[in-house]
Protein backbone atom coordinates (compact mmCIF):
# COMPACT_ATOMS: atom_id res chain seq x y z
CA UNK A 1 0.00 0.00 0.00
CA UNK A 2 1.16 3.53 -0.65
CA UNK A 3 -0.01 7.03 0.21
CA UNK A 4 1.36 10.31 -1.08
CA UNK A 5 2.15 13.41 0.94
CA UNK A 6 3.82 16.79 1.07
CA UNK A 7 7.32 17.06 2.51
CA UNK A 8 7.86 19.63 5.27
CA UNK A 9 11.32 18.24 6.03
CA UNK A 10 13.04 15.61 3.88
CA UNK A 11 14.46 12.31 5.06
CA UNK A 12 13.82 8.59 5.15
CA UNK A 13 12.63 6.41 8.01
CA UNK A 14 11.28 2.97 8.80
CA UNK A 15 9.23 2.11 11.84
CA UNK A 16 5.92 1.16 13.41
CA UNK A 17 3.22 3.83 13.61
CA UNK A 18 1.89 5.40 16.80
CA UNK A 19 -1.36 7.27 16.27
CA UNK A 20 -2.15 10.12 18.69
CA UNK A 21 -5.81 10.90 19.33
CA UNK A 22 -5.08 14.48 20.47
CA UNK A 23 -2.51 17.10 19.44
CA UNK A 24 0.68 17.16 21.49
CA UNK A 25 3.07 19.94 22.45
CA UNK A 26 6.61 18.54 22.61
CA UNK A 27 7.50 21.29 25.12
CA UNK A 28 5.88 20.38 28.41
CA UNK A 29 4.29 17.35 26.74
CA UNK A 30 7.29 15.04 26.25
CA UNK A 31 10.47 14.42 28.25
CA UNK A 32 14.05 14.04 27.02
CA UNK A 33 13.51 10.27 26.70
CA UNK A 34 10.72 10.75 24.17
CA UNK A 35 7.92 9.80 26.57
CA UNK A 36 4.57 11.65 26.67
CA UNK A 37 4.37 13.31 30.09
CA UNK A 38 1.39 15.66 29.59
CA UNK A 39 -1.01 14.36 32.25
CA UNK A 40 -4.00 15.62 30.22
CA UNK A 41 -2.98 13.75 27.06
CA UNK A 42 -4.95 10.53 26.38
CA UNK A 43 -1.71 8.67 25.51
CA UNK A 44 0.32 9.92 28.47
CA UNK A 45 3.12 7.43 29.22
CA UNK A 46 3.57 6.28 25.61
CA UNK A 47 7.12 6.40 24.21
CA UNK A 48 7.52 8.00 20.78
CA UNK A 49 11.19 7.15 20.24
CA UNK A 50 11.77 5.36 16.92
CA UNK A 51 8.06 5.33 16.00
CA UNK A 52 6.35 6.91 13.01
CA UNK A 53 4.28 9.52 14.82
CA UNK A 54 0.83 10.15 13.32
CA UNK A 55 -0.92 13.22 14.72
CA UNK A 56 -3.27 15.83 13.30
CA UNK A 57 -1.18 18.84 14.25
CA UNK A 58 1.20 20.20 16.80
CA UNK A 59 -0.11 22.29 19.68
CA UNK A 60 1.01 25.25 21.71
CA UNK A 61 4.47 26.28 22.59
CA UNK A 62 7.08 27.70 20.24
CA UNK A 63 9.70 25.89 22.36
CA UNK A 64 8.56 22.67 20.68
CA UNK A 65 11.19 23.35 17.98
CA UNK A 66 13.95 23.25 20.62
CA UNK A 67 12.60 20.19 22.40
CA UNK A 68 12.24 18.21 19.17
CA UNK A 69 15.71 19.23 17.93
CA UNK A 70 17.17 18.17 21.30
CA UNK A 71 15.43 14.77 21.05
CA UNK A 72 16.78 14.30 17.51
CA UNK A 73 20.30 15.09 18.81
CA UNK A 74 19.89 12.61 21.68
CA UNK A 75 18.34 9.93 19.41
CA UNK A 76 15.13 9.87 21.45
CA UNK A 77 12.89 11.51 18.82
CA UNK A 78 10.27 9.73 16.70
CA UNK A 79 11.64 8.21 13.47
CA UNK A 80 9.29 10.37 11.39
CA UNK A 81 6.32 12.67 11.97
CA UNK A 82 3.20 12.61 9.78
CA UNK A 83 0.68 15.42 10.23
CA UNK A 84 -2.65 16.12 8.56
CA UNK A 85 -2.18 19.91 8.70
CA UNK A 86 1.03 21.83 7.94
CA UNK A 87 2.68 23.15 11.11
CA UNK A 88 5.80 25.34 10.95
CA UNK A 89 7.08 24.64 14.48
CA UNK A 90 7.77 20.89 14.14
CA UNK A 91 9.74 21.00 10.84
CA UNK A 92 11.74 23.93 12.24
CA UNK A 93 13.12 21.60 14.92
CA UNK A 94 13.93 19.04 12.22
CA UNK A 95 15.65 21.66 10.03
CA UNK A 96 17.89 22.88 12.85
CA UNK A 97 18.86 19.32 13.83
CA UNK A 98 19.78 18.68 10.17
CA UNK A 99 21.92 21.85 10.04
CA UNK A 100 23.71 21.08 13.32
CA UNK A 101 23.98 17.29 13.40
CA UNK A 102 23.26 16.13 9.86
CA UNK A 103 20.38 14.01 11.25
CA UNK A 104 17.21 14.10 9.16
CA UNK A 105 13.83 13.38 10.70
CA UNK A 106 11.24 13.38 7.90
CA UNK A 107 8.16 15.54 8.53
CA UNK A 108 5.28 14.93 6.12
CA UNK A 109 1.71 16.15 5.64
CA UNK A 110 -0.58 13.32 4.50
CA UNK A 111 -4.03 11.98 5.29
CA UNK A 112 -3.07 8.89 7.19
CA UNK A 113 -6.43 7.21 7.98
CA UNK A 114 -5.56 4.32 5.65
CA UNK A 115 -2.42 3.42 7.62
CA UNK A 116 -3.06 0.34 9.79
CA UNK A 117 -2.00 0.37 13.46
CA UNK A 118 0.24 -2.67 13.10
CA UNK A 119 2.50 -2.39 10.09
CA UNK A 120 6.05 -1.56 9.24
CA UNK A 121 6.04 1.80 7.45
CA UNK A 122 8.62 3.20 5.07
CA UNK A 123 8.68 6.98 4.83
CA UNK A 124 10.55 8.47 1.91
CA UNK A 125 10.40 12.27 1.83
CA UNK A 126 12.32 14.09 -0.87
CA UNK A 127 12.19 17.90 -1.05
CA UNK A 128 9.60 17.61 -3.83
CA UNK A 129 7.40 14.79 -2.66
CA UNK A 130 6.73 12.22 0.07
CA UNK A 131 5.55 8.62 -0.05
CA UNK A 132 4.57 6.33 2.80
CA UNK A 133 4.48 2.62 1.98
CA UNK A 134 3.73 -0.53 3.96
CA UNK A 135 2.83 -4.14 3.49
CA UNK A 136 0.03 -5.80 5.40
CA UNK A 137 0.23 -9.40 6.49
Amino acid sequence: MIIQGRTLHPGTATGEPIRLTAPLSFWGGTDEHGRIVDAHHPQCGAVLTGRILLMESGRGSSSTSSVLAEQIRAHTAPAAIILTRPDPIIPLGALVAAELYNLNLPVVVASYEAIPDHALLDVNATPAHATITWTTA
Binding site: L8, D38, P86, G93
Partner: protein
Protein backbone atom coordinates in the same frame (compact mmCIF):
# COMPACT_ATOMS: atom_id res chain seq x y z
CA UNK B 1 22.30 36.27 1.65
CA UNK B 2 21.51 32.65 0.89
CA UNK B 3 24.60 32.37 -1.28
CA UNK B 4 26.93 33.49 1.50
CA UNK B 5 27.47 37.10 0.37
CA UNK B 6 27.08 38.24 4.01
CA UNK B 7 28.90 35.26 5.51
CA UNK B 8 28.06 31.69 6.43
CA UNK B 9 26.12 32.69 9.56
CA UNK B 10 23.70 34.82 7.54
CA UNK B 11 23.39 32.01 4.97
CA UNK B 12 22.44 29.53 7.70
CA UNK B 13 19.86 31.94 9.10
CA UNK B 14 18.47 32.55 5.63
CA UNK B 15 18.11 28.79 4.98
CA UNK B 16 15.93 28.60 8.10
CA UNK B 17 13.83 31.62 7.04
CA UNK B 18 13.34 30.30 3.49
CA UNK B 19 12.50 26.82 4.78
CA UNK B 20 9.80 28.30 7.01
CA UNK B 21 8.49 30.53 4.22
CA UNK B 22 8.01 27.44 2.02
CA UNK B 23 6.15 25.56 4.74
CA UNK B 24 3.88 28.56 5.39
CA UNK B 25 3.26 29.08 1.63
CA UNK B 26 4.57 32.64 2.02
CA UNK B 27 4.72 34.37 -1.38
CA UNK B 28 7.72 36.46 -0.26
CA UNK B 29 9.66 37.68 2.77
CA UNK B 30 9.00 40.94 4.60
CA UNK B 31 11.58 43.29 6.15
CA UNK B 32 11.27 43.61 9.91
CA UNK B 33 12.15 46.57 12.15
CA UNK B 34 12.84 44.69 15.39
CA UNK B 35 13.03 41.24 16.91
CA UNK B 36 12.40 39.71 20.32
CA UNK B 37 14.26 36.43 20.80
CA UNK B 38 12.99 33.62 23.02
CA UNK B 39 15.66 31.09 22.01
CA UNK B 40 17.88 32.27 24.88
CA UNK B 41 15.94 30.04 27.31
CA UNK B 42 17.88 26.79 27.72
CA UNK B 43 16.17 23.62 26.45
CA UNK B 44 19.18 21.32 26.26
CA UNK B 45 22.49 20.99 24.41
CA UNK B 46 20.86 21.92 21.09
CA UNK B 47 20.16 25.44 22.41
CA UNK B 48 23.89 26.00 22.99
CA UNK B 49 24.98 24.23 19.81
CA UNK B 50 22.79 26.46 17.64
CA UNK B 51 23.82 29.73 19.29
CA UNK B 52 27.52 28.78 19.24
CA UNK B 53 27.30 27.78 15.56
CA UNK B 54 25.89 31.22 14.72
CA UNK B 55 28.62 32.94 16.77
CA UNK B 56 31.38 30.83 15.15
CA UNK B 57 30.06 31.64 11.68
CA UNK B 58 30.24 35.35 12.50
CA UNK B 59 26.51 36.11 12.46
CA UNK B 60 25.21 39.39 13.97
CA UNK B 61 21.67 40.67 14.30
CA UNK B 62 20.87 43.48 11.83
CA UNK B 63 17.78 44.94 13.56
CA UNK B 64 17.34 46.05 17.19
CA UNK B 65 16.80 42.79 19.09
CA UNK B 66 15.65 42.27 22.67
CA UNK B 67 16.08 39.02 24.59
CA UNK B 68 13.44 37.06 26.47
CA UNK B 69 14.03 35.58 29.92
CA UNK B 70 16.88 33.11 30.33
CA UNK B 71 17.29 30.20 32.73
CA UNK B 72 19.06 32.19 35.43
CA UNK B 73 19.03 35.55 37.22
CA UNK B 74 22.38 37.12 36.29
CA UNK B 75 22.01 39.78 38.98
CA UNK B 76 21.00 37.36 41.77
CA UNK B 77 22.57 34.06 40.55
CA UNK B 78 22.26 32.47 43.99
CA UNK B 79 18.47 32.29 43.56
CA UNK B 80 18.69 29.37 41.14
CA UNK B 81 19.04 26.05 42.99
CA UNK B 82 20.26 23.97 40.03
CA UNK B 83 23.75 25.34 39.36
CA UNK B 84 24.29 23.12 36.31
CA UNK B 85 21.17 24.58 34.69
CA UNK B 86 22.20 28.08 35.78
CA UNK B 87 25.66 27.66 34.19
CA UNK B 88 24.21 26.42 30.88
CA UNK B 89 21.62 29.21 31.02
CA UNK B 90 24.31 31.82 31.57
CA UNK B 91 26.43 30.49 28.69
CA UNK B 92 23.42 30.63 26.36
CA UNK B 93 22.44 34.14 27.43
CA UNK B 94 25.97 35.43 26.78
CA UNK B 95 26.09 33.74 23.34
CA UNK B 96 22.99 35.71 22.33
CA UNK B 97 24.56 38.93 23.59
CA UNK B 98 27.61 38.09 21.41
CA UNK B 99 25.27 37.93 18.43
CA UNK B 100 24.43 41.58 19.09
CA UNK B 101 21.16 41.18 21.00
CA UNK B 102 20.43 43.64 23.83
CA UNK B 103 20.59 41.92 27.26
CA UNK B 104 17.05 42.82 28.31
CA UNK B 105 16.11 39.31 29.48
CA UNK B 106 12.43 40.07 29.81
CA UNK B 107 9.20 38.52 28.57
CA UNK B 108 7.69 42.04 28.52
CA UNK B 109 9.80 43.94 25.93
CA UNK B 110 6.77 46.18 25.41
CA UNK B 111 7.57 47.77 28.80
CA UNK B 112 10.89 49.05 27.42
CA UNK B 113 11.39 52.25 25.40
CA UNK B 114 11.32 52.12 21.55
CA UNK B 115 8.45 49.75 21.10
CA UNK B 116 7.06 49.12 17.61
CA UNK B 117 4.06 51.02 16.33
CA UNK B 118 0.90 50.36 14.34
CA UNK B 119 1.47 48.37 11.15
CA UNK B 120 5.19 47.77 11.75
CA UNK B 121 6.43 44.30 10.75
CA UNK B 122 8.46 42.70 13.54
CA UNK B 123 9.56 39.19 14.52
CA UNK B 124 8.67 38.76 18.16
CA UNK B 125 8.73 35.40 19.90
CA UNK B 126 7.18 34.33 23.26
CA UNK B 127 3.43 33.97 23.28
CA UNK B 128 2.62 36.89 25.61
CA UNK B 129 4.95 39.30 23.80
CA UNK B 130 3.43 38.24 20.46
CA UNK B 131 -0.16 38.80 21.57
CA UNK B 132 0.70 42.18 23.15
CA UNK B 133 2.60 43.42 20.07
CA UNK B 134 -0.17 42.36 17.70
CA UNK B 135 -3.15 43.44 19.79
CA UNK B 136 -2.18 46.41 21.93
CA UNK B 137 0.55 47.97 19.76
CA UNK B 138 -0.90 46.95 16.38
CA UNK B 139 2.54 45.80 15.22
CA UNK B 140 2.63 42.63 13.12
CA UNK B 141 4.27 39.39 14.11
CA UNK B 142 3.38 35.78 13.50
CA UNK B 143 3.90 32.96 15.99
CA UNK B 144 7.51 31.85 15.58
CA UNK B 145 9.21 28.74 16.88
CA UNK B 146 12.53 28.82 18.69
CA UNK B 147 15.50 29.43 16.33
CA UNK B 148 13.36 31.33 13.80
CA UNK B 149 13.32 34.49 15.94
CA UNK B 150 17.10 34.91 15.91
CA UNK B 151 17.31 33.94 12.22
CA UNK B 152 14.82 36.75 11.46
CA UNK B 153 16.98 39.15 13.52
CA UNK B 154 20.12 38.09 11.61
CA UNK B 155 18.56 38.38 8.15
CA UNK B 156 16.19 41.26 8.97
CA UNK B 157 13.46 39.26 7.22
CA UNK B 158 10.49 37.08 8.10
CA UNK B 159 8.12 35.02 5.94
CA UNK B 160 5.19 37.18 4.77
CA UNK B 161 2.61 34.80 6.18
CA UNK B 162 0.15 34.40 9.03
CA UNK B 163 -0.42 37.52 11.13
CA UNK B 164 2.06 39.53 9.02
CA UNK B 165 -0.75 39.71 6.42
CA UNK B 166 -3.78 41.98 6.70
CA UNK B 167 -6.28 39.24 5.79
CA UNK B 168 -5.23 37.02 8.70
CA UNK B 169 -5.81 39.75 11.32
CA UNK B 170 -9.60 39.90 11.24
CA UNK B 171 -11.58 38.87 14.31
CA UNK B 172 -13.23 35.44 14.23
CA UNK B 173 -15.57 35.43 17.25
CA UNK B 174 -17.13 38.07 19.51
CA UNK B 175 -17.09 37.87 23.32
CA UNK B 176 -19.66 40.19 24.85
CA UNK B 177 -18.24 41.06 28.29
CA UNK B 178 -20.91 43.62 29.24
CA UNK B 179 -22.71 41.20 31.63
CA UNK B 180 -19.57 41.41 33.84
CA UNK B 181 -20.42 45.03 34.73
CA UNK B 182 -18.21 46.62 37.39
CA UNK B 183 -16.05 43.51 37.67
CA UNK B 184 -14.32 44.77 34.50
CA UNK B 185 -12.82 47.54 36.66
CA UNK B 186 -10.99 44.97 38.84
CA UNK B 187 -7.57 43.66 37.82
CA UNK B 188 -8.62 40.08 38.62
CA UNK B 189 -11.12 40.11 35.74
CA UNK B 190 -8.37 40.08 33.12
CA UNK B 191 -6.38 36.89 33.83
CA UNK B 192 -9.71 35.06 34.37
CA UNK B 193 -11.20 36.44 31.18
CA UNK B 194 -8.01 35.58 29.27
CA UNK B 195 -8.01 32.01 30.51
CA UNK B 196 -11.69 31.54 29.68
CA UNK B 197 -11.56 33.12 26.21
CA UNK B 198 -8.32 31.33 25.32
CA UNK B 199 -9.87 27.98 26.28
CA UNK B 200 -12.94 28.67 24.11
CA UNK B 201 -11.32 30.26 21.07
CA UNK B 202 -8.12 28.19 20.74
CA UNK B 203 -6.02 29.86 18.07
CA UNK B 204 -8.87 32.11 16.86
CA UNK B 205 -8.98 35.90 17.07
CA UNK B 206 -11.43 37.09 19.73
CA UNK B 207 -13.19 40.46 19.56
CA UNK B 208 -14.01 41.75 23.04
CA UNK B 209 -16.99 44.03 23.55
CA UNK B 210 -17.55 46.02 26.76
CA UNK B 211 -13.95 46.50 27.93
CA UNK B 212 -13.69 49.94 29.61
CA UNK B 213 -11.76 52.48 27.51
CA UNK B 214 -9.48 53.28 30.48
CA UNK B 215 -8.35 49.65 30.93
CA UNK B 216 -4.62 49.59 31.76
CA UNK B 217 -1.86 48.04 29.69
CA UNK B 218 -1.14 45.81 32.67
CA UNK B 219 -4.69 44.44 32.46
CA UNK B 220 -4.33 43.85 28.72
CA UNK B 221 -0.99 42.15 29.39
CA UNK B 222 -2.61 39.82 31.93
CA UNK B 223 -5.50 39.07 29.57
CA UNK B 224 -3.28 38.34 26.56
CA UNK B 225 -0.80 36.18 28.49
CA UNK B 226 -3.58 34.01 29.92
CA UNK B 227 -5.39 33.74 26.56
CA UNK B 228 -2.15 32.76 24.80
CA UNK B 229 -1.44 30.06 27.42
CA UNK B 230 -4.90 28.55 27.71
CA UNK B 231 -5.52 28.66 23.95
CA UNK B 232 -3.14 29.84 21.28
CA UNK B 233 -4.35 33.42 21.01
CA UNK B 234 -1.79 35.57 19.16
CA UNK B 235 -4.10 38.53 18.46
CA UNK B 236 -7.24 39.93 20.07
CA UNK B 237 -9.27 43.03 19.44
CA UNK B 238 -11.00 45.05 22.19
CA UNK B 239 -13.60 47.38 20.71
CA UNK B 240 -12.89 51.00 21.66
CA UNK B 241 -9.49 50.07 23.11
CA UNK B 242 -7.09 48.38 20.68
CA UNK B 243 -6.02 50.01 17.39
CA UNK B 244 -7.27 47.43 14.89
CA UNK B 245 -10.59 46.57 16.58
CA UNK B 246 -13.41 46.31 14.04
CA UNK B 247 -16.37 48.72 14.00
CA UNK B 248 -18.61 46.18 12.30
CA UNK B 249 -18.77 42.58 13.50
CA UNK B 250 -22.44 41.62 13.08
CA UNK B 251 -21.49 38.62 10.95
CA UNK B 252 -19.40 36.95 13.69
CA UNK B 253 -20.66 34.39 16.21
CA UNK B 254 -21.20 35.87 19.71
CA UNK B 255 -20.49 34.39 23.15
CA UNK B 256 -21.62 36.14 26.34
CA UNK B 257 -19.30 36.08 29.35
CA UNK B 258 -20.89 36.29 32.81
CA UNK B 259 -19.64 36.33 36.39
CA UNK B 260 -20.54 32.69 37.04
CA UNK B 261 -18.20 31.64 34.24
CA UNK B 262 -15.28 33.64 35.65
CA UNK B 263 -15.94 32.32 39.17
CA UNK B 264 -15.73 28.80 37.77
CA UNK B 265 -12.44 29.63 36.01
CA UNK B 266 -11.02 30.94 39.28
CA UNK B 267 -11.97 27.70 41.05
CA UNK B 268 -10.39 25.66 38.24
CA UNK B 269 -7.13 27.58 38.52
CA UNK B 270 -7.03 27.61 42.32
CA UNK B 271 -6.34 25.14 45.05
CA UNK B 272 -7.23 25.93 48.69
CA UNK B 273 -5.71 25.60 52.13
CA UNK B 274 -2.26 26.25 53.54
CA UNK B 275 -0.08 28.61 51.56
CA UNK B 276 3.64 27.95 51.00
CA UNK B 277 4.70 30.92 48.88
CA UNK B 278 3.53 33.73 46.61
CA UNK B 279 4.89 34.56 43.14
CA UNK B 280 3.74 37.62 41.22
CA UNK B 281 4.97 39.24 38.02
CA UNK B 282 4.30 36.82 35.13
CA UNK B 283 4.71 38.33 32.56
CA UNK B 284 7.27 40.59 34.23
CA UNK B 285 5.70 43.17 36.53
CA UNK B 286 5.62 46.68 35.10
CA UNK B 287 6.99 49.69 36.98
CA UNK B 288 3.41 50.65 37.96
CA UNK B 289 2.72 47.16 39.32
CA UNK B 290 5.96 47.16 41.37
CA UNK B 291 5.09 50.57 42.83
CA UNK B 292 1.61 49.30 43.71
CA UNK B 293 3.04 46.27 45.45
CA UNK B 294 5.40 48.51 47.41
CA UNK B 295 2.45 50.65 48.50
CA UNK B 296 0.49 47.59 49.62
CA UNK B 297 3.47 46.43 51.68
CA UNK B 298 4.35 49.83 53.16
CA UNK B 299 2.38 49.39 56.39
CA UNK B 300 0.83 46.35 57.94
CA UNK B 301 1.82 42.99 59.39
CA UNK B 302 4.92 41.13 58.14
CA UNK B 303 4.80 38.46 55.43
CA UNK B 304 4.54 34.94 56.81
CA UNK B 305 5.48 33.10 53.59
CA UNK B 306 8.20 33.69 50.96
CA UNK B 307 7.12 36.28 48.38
CA UNK B 308 8.67 36.52 44.88
CA UNK B 309 8.33 39.39 42.42
CA UNK B 310 9.54 38.79 38.83
CA UNK B 311 10.38 41.89 36.83
CA UNK B 312 12.99 43.04 34.34
CA UNK B 313 16.34 44.63 35.16
CA UNK B 314 15.28 47.90 33.48
CA UNK B 315 12.34 48.26 35.88
CA UNK B 316 14.49 47.22 38.84
CA UNK B 317 16.90 50.05 38.03
CA UNK B 318 14.00 52.52 38.04
CA UNK B 319 12.88 51.23 41.46
CA UNK B 320 16.31 51.66 43.06
CA UNK B 321 16.58 54.15 45.90
CA UNK B 322 12.94 53.96 46.95
CA UNK B 323 10.49 51.16 46.16
CA UNK B 324 13.18 48.50 45.71
CA UNK B 325 14.38 49.00 49.32
CA UNK B 326 10.82 49.00 50.55
CA UNK B 327 10.04 45.75 48.74
CA UNK B 328 13.22 44.00 49.88
CA UNK B 329 12.86 45.21 53.46
CA UNK B 330 9.32 43.84 53.49
CA UNK B 331 10.77 40.44 52.60
CA UNK B 332 10.08 40.35 48.86
CA UNK B 333 12.64 38.46 46.75
CA UNK B 334 13.01 40.40 43.51
CA UNK B 335 13.81 38.11 40.56
CA UNK B 336 15.10 39.54 37.26
CA UNK B 337 16.25 38.09 33.90
CA UNK B 338 14.17 34.94 34.38
CA UNK B 339 10.89 33.81 35.90
CA UNK B 340 9.92 31.55 38.78
CA UNK B 341 8.09 28.99 36.62
CA UNK B 342 10.81 28.39 33.99
CA UNK B 343 13.75 27.59 36.26
CA UNK B 344 14.58 26.15 39.67
CA UNK B 345 13.94 29.00 42.10
CA UNK B 346 11.06 27.93 44.36
CA UNK B 347 11.77 25.19 46.93
CA UNK B 348 10.66 21.74 45.73
CA UNK B 349 8.99 21.31 49.13
CA UNK B 350 6.43 24.03 48.43
CA UNK B 351 3.10 22.67 47.25
CA UNK B 352 0.62 25.57 47.25
CA UNK B 353 1.72 28.81 45.63
CA UNK B 354 -0.40 31.89 45.00
CA UNK B 355 -0.06 34.15 41.97
CA UNK B 356 -1.81 37.07 40.29
CA UNK B 357 -1.09 35.57 36.85
CA UNK B 358 -3.36 33.35 34.77
CA UNK B 359 -0.31 32.30 32.77
CA UNK B 360 1.64 31.25 35.85
CA UNK B 361 -1.41 29.39 37.21
CA UNK B 362 -1.65 27.53 33.87
CA UNK B 363 2.00 26.49 33.45
CA UNK B 364 3.53 26.24 36.94
CA UNK B 365 1.71 23.02 37.98
CA UNK B 366 3.26 21.13 35.03
CA UNK B 367 6.61 22.91 34.99
CA UNK B 368 7.56 23.02 38.66
CA UNK B 369 5.03 20.67 40.27
CA UNK B 370 3.01 23.03 42.46
CA UNK B 371 -0.69 23.73 43.00
CA UNK B 372 -1.60 27.30 42.07
CA UNK B 373 -4.03 29.79 43.60
CA UNK B 374 -5.07 32.77 41.49
CA UNK B 375 -5.84 36.09 43.18
CA UNK B 376 -5.48 39.82 42.78
CA UNK B 377 -2.27 41.53 43.91
CA UNK B 378 -4.05 42.71 47.08
CA UNK B 379 -5.26 39.15 47.78
CA UNK B 380 -1.71 37.86 47.26
CA UNK B 381 -0.43 40.33 49.88
CA UNK B 382 -3.26 39.58 52.34
CA UNK B 383 -2.68 35.83 51.93
CA UNK B 384 1.09 36.13 52.41
CA UNK B 385 0.46 38.06 55.64
CA UNK B 386 -2.05 35.48 56.88
CA UNK B 387 0.01 32.44 55.82
CA UNK B 388 -3.10 31.04 54.15
CA UNK B 389 -5.26 31.83 51.16
CA UNK B 390 -7.41 34.91 51.77
CA UNK B 391 -9.82 35.83 48.99
CA UNK B 392 -11.98 38.96 49.00
Amino acid sequence: MLGGRDGDGVALAMRVIIGQARISDAPRLVEITSAHVDSCLYHGQVSLDFAHRLVELGARVRVPTTLNVGSTDLIHPILVRDQELAAAGRELMSAYVELGCTPTFTCAPYQLPNRPGLGEHVAWAESNAIVFANSVLGARTDRYGDFLDVCAAITGRAPYAGLQTTEARRGTVVFDCRPLGDFLHSELAYPLLGHHIGSVVGAGIPVLVGIPAQVSEDDLKAFGAAAASAGGVALFHAVGVTPEAPREFADLPVHEVDLDTLHRVRRELSTTGKLDAVSVGTPHASYAECVRLAELLKDGPPLKVPFYLSTNRHTRERLKGSELDLLENAGVTVVVDTCTYVTAILSPDWKNVMTNSGKWAHYAPGNINVNAVLGSLAECVASARAGQVVLE
